[in-house]
């Protein structure tokens, strides 16, 4: 009975729908309309775009997950397929879960029908013919046809669809009505010609009230803006470009003075230049950042070492994609952790923030500047393609609740008062020295930034003791970092035998996995939000008999960093990884955990 009722409930507002189309055919608007319509109906939803590294012509899949329970991670099962792409139809069709529904453009050769699947042919071509759009819009309009049909058959409110389009087209009625024409026609056709046979449907709910639907890159960009970014340099690269796009999109409306910009966003000629510019601006007193992905990180290595060693504050936002090398530019991964931590030859150790949600993308967007300016060092934020480029539901972002921290900067007045200044002297014992900005007119203010060995006065020095003293201070500073960066998030009773450590975009899948596992496996979890680790992390490891570090890379990179942090517990820490370009699913996590640590 319980089993049954659970199942019955599951059929309302609980499905994964995959829309299989061809890249560049304009299906993005259609898919976003569906996602946003569900969202407007109060149904928790997420949208994930699995797209090729290509502009036009290759297969692409958009997955919409509606979940009354609020779980929005990827899941393996596909309850509803919308097949618009002939080349993948056979494979896509084979992937539909038992009892699922298959909407398909009726001009595609249909594969052998499977028992238990409900088929809905869609006369896309005829419907398009009826509205006779201009030739270059045909493909685009065809995609609106499936929006109409699917909406009708699932019970998606056309008014909600219209609202979604209004958002998309920034309240411009004309394109909205053009699209709605096709959508209404298709819905009407479906109403007349198709018979509902599958069990999946939606019902308005109130679970998204007040919430927003946003991509991590946009959230991070807004965070940077509310952190007061005044200089951003970038070089186009998937999946980071949309971060810079959002910065460029929102700054003009938020940061003008008498019609002029109180910021600069510069597209550099490459990543070496992008980070060089950011460092120059960070030195000169701007809140300065650059955004990139793996290949860009590799190119930035030399400059990061300079910023680390000369102690220049900058934020580097890394939207991770699958590597090594060019890898899979449109697939997600958490593969840059180890490399970024030690980026730069010689003894470097970089600070990393790890947002686990779009809300944290926003928060770390502003907070990263505070940390960078406080520490006077490069601060990395490691997001990933899944978090950065896909749509996530969130509570609206909190306005920064802390005053801006511009760190230890001495003004001319302060210098006058103090009467002395040594750029690299550890006055406060935290390893963080005071700096002055170019333009400071006090005679004590100038210092010469250099990547070469230096004494406290920033003068070139080859003296062994100067080198050692400076490195000791830098290590002290690295320790100070621990308490300046976001603490981990703990959950569970604290009494469980098994502790799960994870970070970043796997958050949603982990939360869902925990829900699945409640009966089976008692778990405490710790979500890392930064490297280096603070004392909570050590304590958590201390407190659990079995520990599992979950991540999306091949080598278990965070697992390694944790082992190094707590060598006395190194063998307690087990590594659990999957790294194939797809976001993790709750099912895989739950099953793998049980396998690894016992049920």
């Amino acid at each position: 009975m319980t089993e049954n009722s659970t199942r019955a409930k599951a059929l309302v507002n609980d499905f994964s729908m995959v829309v299989a189309t061809v890249n560049g055919s304009g299906s993005q608007t259609s898919n976003l309309a569906l996602v946003r319509a569900l969202f407007r109906m109060g149904i928790p939803v997420s949208g994930k775009n699995l797209f090729p590294s290509n502009i036009q012509g290759l297969p692409t899949w958009y997955t919409i997950r509606a979940s009354g329970d609020g779980h929005t991670a990827r899941r393996e099962s596909v309850e509803i397929l919308v097949a618009m792409n002939v080349t993948t139809f056979t494979e896509d069709h084979a992937g539909i879960s038992e009892g699922g529904a298959c909407f398909y453009a009726d001009h595609l050769p249909k594969p052998q029908a499977r028992a238990g699947i409900v088929y809905y042919p869609m006369p896309i071509k005829d419907l398009v013919k009826e509205v006779s759009p201009p030739k270059d819009l045909k493909e685009y309009v065809a995609n609106m046809a499936y929006v109409g049909i699917v909406s009708e058959m699932l019970g998606i409110d056309l008014e909600a669809v219209r609202g979604a389009l209004m958002t998309h087209f920034h309240d411009r009625e004309k394109p909205v009505e053009l699209n709605m024409g096709m959508i209404r026609l298709a819905a009407e056709w479906a109403k007349q010609n198709l018979e509902k046979q599958d069990p999946y449907r939606v019902e308005a709910d109130n679970k998204t009230k007040g919430k927003i639907l946003i991509e991590g890159n946009t959230a991070g960009a807004l965070g940077a803006i509310y952190g007061g970014v005044s200089f951003a340099s970038w070089y186009p690269i998937t999946p980071a470009s949309s971060f810079a796009d959002a910065v460029r999109q929102y700054l003009p409306q938020l940061r003008k003075e008498n019609g002029k910009n109180t910021y600069a966003v510069i597209q550099a000629e490459d990543e070496l230049s992008a980070i060089g510019m950011a460092i120059g601006a960070g030195w000169a007193g701007a809140r300065s950042m650059t955004s990139t992905s793996g290949p860009g990180i590799s190119l930035m290595a030399e400059f990061v070492g300079l910023a680390f060693f000369a102690e220049i504050p900058i934020v580097i936002w890394d939207v991770q994609r699958m590597g090594p090398s060019t890898g899979l530019p449109t697939r997600t991964s958490q593969g840059d952790v180890m490399f970024v931590r030690y980026l730069g030859h010689g003894d470097t150790k970089n600070v990393i923030l790890l947002p686990g949600s779009v809300a944290e993308c926003f928060e770390f967007g502003w907070r990263a500047f505070d940390v960078a300016e406080r520490l006077q060092s490069p601060v990395f934020v490691l997001s990933d393609l899944d978090l950065g480029m896909n749509l996530w539901m969130s509570d609206p972002f909190d306005y920064p609740d802390e005053p801006m921290d511009r760190g230890k900067v001495l003004t001319a007045e302060q210098l006058e008062e103090i009467g002395e200044f040594a750029r690299y002297r550890d006055v406060d014992g935290d390893g963080i020295a005071y700096r002055t900005l170019p333009g400071n007119e006090h005679p004590l203010a100038p210092w010469f930034v250099r990547g070469t060995g230096h004494n406290e006065h920033a003068e070139y020095s080859e003296r062994p003791d100067d080198w050692e003293r400076n490195m000791e201070r830098l290590m002290r500073k690295a320790d100070s970092a621990r308490d300046l960066i976001p603490a981990p998030v703990l959950s569970g009773s604290g009494e469980a035998r098994v502790g799960l450590i994870y970070y970043g975009s796997t958050e949603s899948a982990v939360r869902e996995a925990c829900d699945r596992l409640t009966e089976q496996l008692e778990l405490d979890t710790l979500r890392l939000r930064a490297v280096p680790f603070n004392s909570d992390v050590k304590q958590f490891i201390e407190d659990h008999e079995v520990l599992c570090v979950l991540e999306m890379n091949t080598d278990g990179q965070m697992h390694k960093l944790l082992q190094l942090e707590v060598p006395e517990r190194a063998t307690r820490l087990r590594s659990l990884t999957q790294n194939n370009g797809l976001p993790l699913t709750a099912r895989w996590i739950a099953e793998s955990l049980v396998d690894l640590v016992g049920g």
């Binding site: 958002t167 007040g210 919430k211 927003i212 639907l213 946003i214 946009t218 807004l222 509310y226 007061g228 005044s230 200089f231 340099s233 929102y250 938020l254 003075e257 002029k260 910009n261 109180t262 910021y263 600069a264 966003v265 510069i266 550099a268 000629e269 070496l272 230049s273 992008a274 980070i275 060089g276 510019m277 950011a278 460092i279 120059g280 601006a281 960070g282 030195w283 000169a284 007193g285 701007a286 300065s288 030399e302 300079l306 609206p396 972002f397 005053p403 801006m404 002055t436 170019p438 333009g439 007119e441 006090h442 005679p443 203010a445 100038p446 210092w447 010469f448 930034v449 250099r450 070469t452």
Partner: protein, 347 residues
């Protein structure tokens, strides 16, 4: 006694500073290195222009040349960056604070070898700064390998024979649309000083390719980067005099013999023609001049090209005049209401 003190009192400029206030630490370069001479001219130029040292930032890459910012303008903020990467650092810094005047010193290795890309793109963006290349045709600091400006077929004891054609950095600058292209010679301090002064007054990238002999590795007579070759082959296009904004230009010249080019801040450069007719505002003439100088192995020096009509990077980016570094937290962080408004768009 009193009298002695009086006469000994250092001369000061318009902002009350003595020449010594523009000096840097003692040079650790080789005695006689061209770079030292250029450092002195930078000191002279800044002194004579009466720029307050804290209003200047000095930048460099890596090399003997790039060390030299430690030896001039000791009271200015400075950044000794990475090999070949000074342009990007300068871009960030001067965009973040456009009230500063930037002077970058680089080498031929730093600019023409590893730094070629950044150089071209700096110029293309027209970032206002003085970009000095101390061109000696070798990598001094790493002990005398050929750089990309080394002479074709030149032989050096250590480096062997160079089979490649030299990069012409003035031509590169012109190709990248530079509005202030000059070539000079460390052995001609007056010209160097006047050109640097003009470059400081130019609101765009001003490139100065200065032949600066490396006495240790590349100063043999046959090298086009040697003192003796420079002295013998220098062919100044004009006699260069910088005229500050507030001075009337003296009309003690025959009209037609002197060209005046106006700089952005109202000052001017007076070019008294030597030899033949040369108009530095004619781009194709400039290109031709460089091509011919290259073919005929002449060291044509002076202001090769001038065009003040191009927007600076900061203007292209429609930036405020104030330094971004002076923005207060309130100015940096948009309001709470604005956030709510923005977030509405995601509902």
């Amino acid at each position: 006694m009193a009298t002695t003190v009086e006469t000994r009192k250092a001369k000061v400029n318009d902002v009350g500073l003595a020449k010594a206030d523009y000096k840097g630490g003692p040079s650790t370069l080789c005695a006689g290195c061209g770079h030292n001479s250029i450092s002195s001219q930078i000191v002279n130029a800044a002194y004579e222009l009466s720029i307050r040292p804290h209003e200047i930032i000095k930048l460099s890459g890596i090399g003997c040349s790039s060390k030299s910012p430690a030896y001039f303008l000791g009271k200015s903020h400075g950044f000794n960056s990475l090999h070949g990467r000074m342009p990007s650092v300068a871009t960030g810094a001067l965009v973040a604070n456009r009230s500063l005047k930037g002077i970058g010193v680089s080498g031929d290795g730093d600019t023409a070898s590893i730094g070629m890309g950044q150089f071209v793109h700096l110029v293309r963006r027209n970032l206002p700064m003085v970009y000095v290349i101390e061109n000696n045709g070798v990598y001094g600091l790493t002990k005398g390998q050929f750089s990309a400006t080394a002479d074709h077929e030149q032989t050096l004891k250590y480096a062997g024979t160079n089979p490649f054609m030299p990069v012409d950095l003035c031509m590169e600058a012109l190709t990248a649309n530079c509005g202030f292209v000059a070539r000079s010679f460390a052995g001609d301090p007056k010209q160097v000083t006047e050109l640097i002064k003009a470059a400081f007054s130019f609101d765009g990238t001003a490139v100065l390719d200065i032949i600066s002999p490396c006495v240790t590795f590349n100063d043999r007579d046959e090298s086009t980067k040697s003192y003796s070759w420079g002295r013998e082959h220098q062919d100044p296009l004009h006699d260069v005099t910088y005229v500050p904004r507030y001075e009337e230009i003296q009309v003690d010249y025959e009209p037609g013999e002197t060209t005046i080019v106006r700089l952005h801040d109202g000052s001017a450069l007076m070019l008294k023609k030597l030899d033949e007719e040369y108009d530095p505002t004619d781009r194709s003439a400039a290109i031709q001049l460089l091509d011919e100088a290259r073919a005929n192995q002449v060291l044509a020096t002076g202001l090769i090209y001038f065009n003040s009509d191009q927007a600076s990077l900061q203007d292209s980016e429609q930036m405020i005049k104030r330094p971004l570094s002076e923005l207060t937290p309130d100015e940096l962080r948009p309001s709470q209401e604005s956030l709510q408004e923005v977030l509405e768009g995601f509902k």
